[in-house]
């Protein structure tokens, strides 16, 4: 299961929890921090949890993931993931993040003066998009 939090992630608490699992000899952690970028004061997210958890099943034996829902302000963290393996395996986290970006049912909005604007320029169509036309 993906760990979902309202607002910014409690990074240290999540990291400590994951670190204590000791699933392997290497824990590689990715922390996504909201940048001060293009006049935004933050990001905001919607998630469709049933499909997110279904998508995550193929990863969950080796990957941990936490994501925010709702508003996350500049300097806060909206996304964390970590891979465990016996030895270093940097490609696994890259493959995971690529799949995440293309397929996880999460929608991002820029926050400008706390108003949500869909991040159309960064969004990717899901497989078979367009069948309604």
């Amino acid at each position: 299961m993906v760990e979902i939090y309202n607002g910014g992630l409690p990074v240290e608490e999540i990291f400590n929890k994951w670190y204590k699992l000791k699933w392997g000899g290497m824990l590689l952690t990715f922390v996504g921090i909201v940048r001060d970028d293009g006049g935004i004061n933050g990001l905001s997210f919607d998630i469709y949890e049933p499909m997110l958890n279904e998508w995550f099943k193929k990863w969950e034996k080796r990957v941990l993931m936490a994501h925010s829902v709702g508003n996350v302000y500049v300097g806060e963290t909206s996304f964390m993931c970590a891979v465990y393996s016996k030895h270093r395996e940097f490609k696994l986290i890259e493959d995971f993040v690529e799949d995440f970006k293309a397929n996880a049912p999460i929608w991002k909005y820029d926050l400008i003066d706390d108003k949500r604007i869909f991040a159309d320029d960064r969004a990717k169509k899901l497989p078979n998009a367009g069948i309604l036309v």
């Binding site: 996504g32 997210f45 919607d46 469709y48 049933p50 499909m51 279904e54 994501h67 909206s78 996304f79 993040v97 995440f100 970006k101 293309a102 397929n103 996880a104 049912p105 999460i106 929608w107 991002k108 909005y109 869909f118 991040a119 159309d120 960064r122 969004a123 990717k124 169509k125 899901l126 497989p127 078979n128 998009a129 367009g130 069948i131 309604l132 036309v133």
Partner: protein
């Protein structure tokens, strides 16, 4: 012959969010028409569709009780 009506629930996700819509339709063609009446035209070519939380490549096999989720382009992280 009376046509069998299929009752389906439509979910509008992310930037097209609105209340779930329960409708009765007699075909996938009618279902598409109902969706088109409730989603702005500009979104249609971008939306993927899941039936009971699985993305589908067509709507030909819609059954009574199905949940139809409309999924705009995604961007997590």
């Amino acid at each position: 012959m009376e046509r069998v009506k299929l009752k389906v629930l439509i979910k509008f996700l992310g930037p097209i969010a609105r209340e779930d819509l329960e409708v009765e339709v007699d075909s996938s063609i009618e279902l598409k028409e109902v969706i088109k009446q409730n989603v702005d035209n500009e979104w249609l070519e971008k939306i993927a569709v899941a039936v009971n939380d699985k993305i589908v490549s067509n709507l030909d096999d819609i059954k009574d009780g199905d949940v139809i989720s409309l999924l705009p382009p995604v961007c997590g992280g």
